[in-house]
Point group: C2
Chain length 805, copies 2
Amino acid sequence: MKLNQFAFHQVSSEQLYQDLVNIKLLDESDKTLSSLKLFQKLIAGIFPEYHSLSSCLEALRYISVDSQHTLADIFNTEPFHLSRHQFIIMVLQLLKFEIGIDFQMDNAEAFYQDCGYPKLSFDQINDSETLLRAFYLLLNLRTKNGMNFLDDLANRGFFNSFFDAQAPHFVFFNNRVQAVFDASKTIREIVYVESDLDTDHDGKHDLLEATIFRPAATDRGLKVPTLYTANPYFKGTNDMTPSLHNVNQNLQPKKAQIIDKAEIQATHTLAYQPIGAKASEENHDTEISAQAETVYSLNDYFLSRGFASVYAAGIGTRHSDGLRTTGSQEETASTIAIIQWLHGDRIAYTNRTDHIPTTAWWCNGNVTMTGKSYLGTLATAAATTGVTGLKAIISESAISSWYDYYRDNGLVVAPEDCQGEDTDVLAIDTFSRLKDDADFQKIKAVYERQQQALTVGQDRDTGNYNTFWDERNYRNDVKHIQCAVLIVHGLNDWNVKLRNPEKLWRALRAAKIPAKIFLHQGQHIYMNNIRSIDFNDMVNYWLVDKLCHDQKNASDADLPKVLIQDNVTPEQWHHYQDWCAESAPIKQFYLQKNRLTTKPKPTETQSFIDNGTTDFLKHNQTEHQWQNALLSQTSEYQHNRLLFLTDPLTKDLYIDGNPIVTLQVAVDSTSGKLSVMLADYGIARRLQAQPSIVGRGALQLGFNNLTEDLKEFQLETHPSPFKLITKGHINMQNRRNTWSNDVIQPGNFYTVRFELQPTHYHLLTNHQLGLIVYSTDMGMTLRESRVQSYTLDLNASRLEIPYNK
Amino acid sequence: MKLNQFAFHQVSSEQLYQDLVNIKLLDESDKTLSSLKLFQKLIAGIFPEYHSLSSCLEALRYISVDSQHTLADIFNTEPFHLSRHQFIIMVLQLLKFEIGIDFQMDNAEAFYQDCGYPKLSFDQINDSETLLRAFYLLLNLRTKNGMNFLDDLANRGFFNSFFDAQAPHFVFFNNRVQAVFDASKTIREIVYVESDLDTDHDGKHDLLEATIFRPAATDRGLKVPTLYTANPYFKGTNDMTPSLHNVNQNLQPKKAQIIDKAEIQATHTLAYQPIGAKASEENHDTEISAQAETVYSLNDYFLSRGFASVYAAGIGTRHSDGLRTTGSQEETASTIAIIQWLHGDRIAYTNRTDHIPTTAWWCNGNVTMTGKSYLGTLATAAATTGVTGLKAIISESAISSWYDYYRDNGLVVAPEDCQGEDTDVLAIDTFSRLKDDADFQKIKAVYERQQQALTVGQDRDTGNYNTFWDERNYRNDVKHIQCAVLIVHGLNDWNVKLRNPEKLWRALRAAKIPAKIFLHQGQHIYMNNIRSIDFNDMVNYWLVDKLCHDQKNASDADLPKVLIQDNVTPEQWHHYQDWCAESAPIKQFYLQKNRLTTKPKPTETQSFIDNGTTDFLKHNQTEHQWQNALLSQTSEYQHNRLLFLTDPLTKDLYIDGNPIVTLQVAVDSTSGKLSVMLADYGIARRLQAQPSIVGRGALQLGFNNLTEDLKEFQLETHPSPFKLITKGHINMQNRRNTWSNDVIQPGNFYTVRFELQPTHYHLLTNHQLGLIVYSTDMGMTLRESRVQSYTLDLNASRLEIPYNK
């Protein structure tokens, strides 16, 4: 078991003592205590459940320090002495490991090291200086349940005496803000922010409901930073199944069109600066209470630590005005309106009718945005406006250009498990105003017109990049970003594909905007409950620097810039200087019949037939079953694809970046689509892309706060023969670019060169790299019912693999 | 969707008004209000989030009453009038159903009826009397999220003004206790109850840790009932995998022994009455705080409603004394010691060393026990002692005799998915003192002796019923039960098999002890989060009667005595007069070659070979895969069993009780075991035994309280060909009884007659009833490696099926 700690920061003796005073484990006056008295005070302090000496001593008697003694013996023995071995045995038990079960007493030190805990610099503890440093370390170590020990103490009531402080303040320890606030006292209320939009064309500015969760301490004068999550799903979703587009149809040939990118560039028609009124003075009243709700447990974690959470669902959601526009400028404007109110630059009202203003008087003006998927997408969108007050975004599994979510190289390509979805369908999903029929009937006509506009604009007929999509490409505006950026993404995310964070990362790098990126081995998930990584601590450390006044710290330097989870060894996280580096070396592969080689050799052509749809639909297979079949070496669909395999690798290959394929290809009709997969072939127990629960409800977010399941990525129980590395798709008519169409003459060969989705993949020695070329992707593309034949001229086909190490 | 309500009680107009005053929705003086003013007051009251008239009116404008009007129109229109149709449309939206999504406005009344809501007795509401009755009904109706509307209001803050009452009191509405207490203020503390036991032979009475969760209102003088859960897993469990017994072995012949039952009857050596000291006066101090923890959400639900929860893990668990004894008298005594303390009959201490007494001064002396499986088992055990203070038990999926958990008819028969487990293994699992090595080392020797005693006593060698098991048969003491009993069990529970509740039910009936039984279609699960049934409300209604002073109600008469979930139609719950009635009629079936017939006809013999173990182990199959294969009509294991099928049924058959098989059988060796299954053959989409989540976190247990997933049993997505109805096993040497062994001469025919596990099963017309006779049950019996041949004389074999209707 690894409990990596990236957020721990070595501090000076002075800072260390000050931190211990901050958390009231010691007083200033304790400096003069003898080592034993100091030890007794420290030990009594870390058993907050025991309110008498007798009961505390009983607790100490359960904790061994060696085979002969318990902590109670040490506690009562003058002169004070604790060996390094005894200390480790004690620490491991305090961190919830059990002797004889998790570790053997003899082997405690090795176990301690295997967990990845920091090295100890002492052999004995018998002076106060060493004792303080040892205890300080202990407070920072992560328990078996994932939280660090001080957080565990907080969960056990350590900070409860802070809860009702008359002059509440933040408490920092090792630069991180601590859980000294009572989450059960959170104040929950609703206000209506006035935007400058009128997306439902009723002649009135769209009012946007914002839901505020703020610590009760704000009522006693504390000004707090805000974690803001723009969440279109917050007010509920609708069933979009009946609205899904039919994907069981053939790809149509497109009219030839060679145009310049300038012709399809979107113009920004919206000024994002607030033009409406601001509230002139503080107003503390609200009229509407909100219900407790959990969206992202990172936000809940910070509630115990004094940061507010604010949620807004945006235009077109229940109890707000407007319509859903899926990624438009209006949506971005509605997203940042909330920040502008939090920062004091925009007005909000206590209800929707009476125009009684209310200010975010409790906010210190500093905001970060959080959330995954659509939520993270809006964080990215907001950042690209440069809105004042937004100091940081944690953008997880987020879209950076909607074209890269619903399209690929001139093709309609669905996110995994989302066949038939598109911007118009997502607008239905999130249009929660539908839930109040009385409200919906008032705007039905304008809603239907807006839906029609999305359907036309997204243009499923061509799949081309156009002005509609260019408006929805946030990367056009990376230069405006004024805040710190943390990107988080799963390397197995086939919902929001890796091109989204990759192109954003490249744009940030080009614009020299400071950013970090964490890539885990999951699919479309959060990573804050993964045991092997101290995500919450890292975010805490980083956000304190960004959001708290006078708390600048070294987190930008201390925390990894690029953190990538290993796909071979569980619980291993690598710290890199870059991802998808421009300077990455390229390994070139050539195609031979069913083979990938590193040296070219004249060879023949190879063909496949695209006719799998009938069988797929007849057998009622899932898209995952179909994909597994296609990847397998003896596939029922093997005539639907070509599989090119390298020889077993003689050394490990670390793929890093976008593989590029060049295919010289002919098809027997006037339209054609190509799909390509790269896969890792070799029998191995691979890391599962779904983390397993290793502690149900084990991650407690604070005293009186919620719990969350602790998870970890584990190896498969049984070995598997292959694993998808990456994928790509292209409309052969878009071989020039995504907005121009060239013609296809049946039987003519064309050079089609395109990037696959980027990745980082550790391919092991003795495994084989496989290139799979096919056409219909049952899970992502239109499903062809006609039978098409594709022929590859292998001589002119290539695969380029960027790599590192 | 069905939202059945069994707990709703029709009340008089006086009671109705009093209830509305109790919850402070109305005052006494409101009786004189005009209908419109009354309506306005009621409506304003049920929008507790809205603290101003403006914001409340906004909320009303979202709620349609017909296609032209909203609730805001009704609210403002004199004279007040609401049609029955308008009322239903309003009510459905308040209960969280959406127009155009869940129901159509035109069809509201039919939808209301389909949900199973009570019939409305009015066509118009325009007078105060009708209005009050209509609103009272609304407050009792269950929302889409499973809770009733008043609970939903409580979750939304309706009762928050009660939280800090100086003279706190229970609030009853429709006889149920309401959520007027702040769950986040729960006081959690630990005491040590002194038992009269010394199971670890250290010369001192075993101290038992008890963990108390009590409402803060107790500190302001409220005396409260207690839900006590005896939970051996409460302090953690150990890995029992290495201790599992090997089941891959052959059944050994047993020495002939014909004995009288009296020879193996256990004698009670323990007096359950407390002999130790009592604390003489109230002592309010405790020294140790406990952590929040959730074991059973029914307990958490009652925390908001003012009832305390108490947990104790019992002898041999972490921080208590003693050893684990799996079902012994000592375990029962340690279980009831907590009740004796709660009732004031036993002493407890504030810590383990100082002998400072502490009383349960906050308890009203009335206790109910709750919990599932081992937890429910201990509730049953406690009830059979007649301990004072225990007023009711809710015993779910519970063992009533440990022989019926680990044995069957002279065979070692494992609970499902528990092959190799036994009383000694379970004692290791729950022996959480192992977690503190310093504690464990002190008692290691005596622990090992105790484990040895369990291993010897359970006697896996013979599988016979003996004194050890007789001590662990709680049914011997049913006559001592002094409390109300509610049994809950899943009809698909193959962990704690149905014989356990059945034999207890029969014993209670014989002893004329008032009891109820609820049988759901699940496996080994709780049913309190199933949407189609108001379990929490029923328990609330029932416990108020049993535990609250001066609150006798009609729940015994109102609530079903026998409630059984239908296995064919989802969300259907039947109310019966009895289960396993002694007077049930019997349908007799005769065996022909591969056929079950209702008329006898001379016929031949049929044989099968028991040799499946090698294949089963070689193919690494799960026990479930094996069982499915065995049941299928074209089985890879078909030579391992005989399958007898009826003709397709010409009318539905409701099996109810214990089917009995009589087999005239010979085996080619000196030992033999028989297994039998009954199955329902016929292609159908059957109810799944695992309920699906229909609302993640939708069931909120109170304001500031936990949430739980709302679940429902749904039909299979695809039709299945068969389903197991019931099973049974016997050692052919135990054909006389479970404690005597007759010999087997190879090739000789013997009459073996035995009961299968009881059930209640609705077998549909056109389906076929199947009887499967086999020997080795891979999931439950020893797995034979020798090849045995069994022959049935069909002429003398029979199947008797008790049924009702």
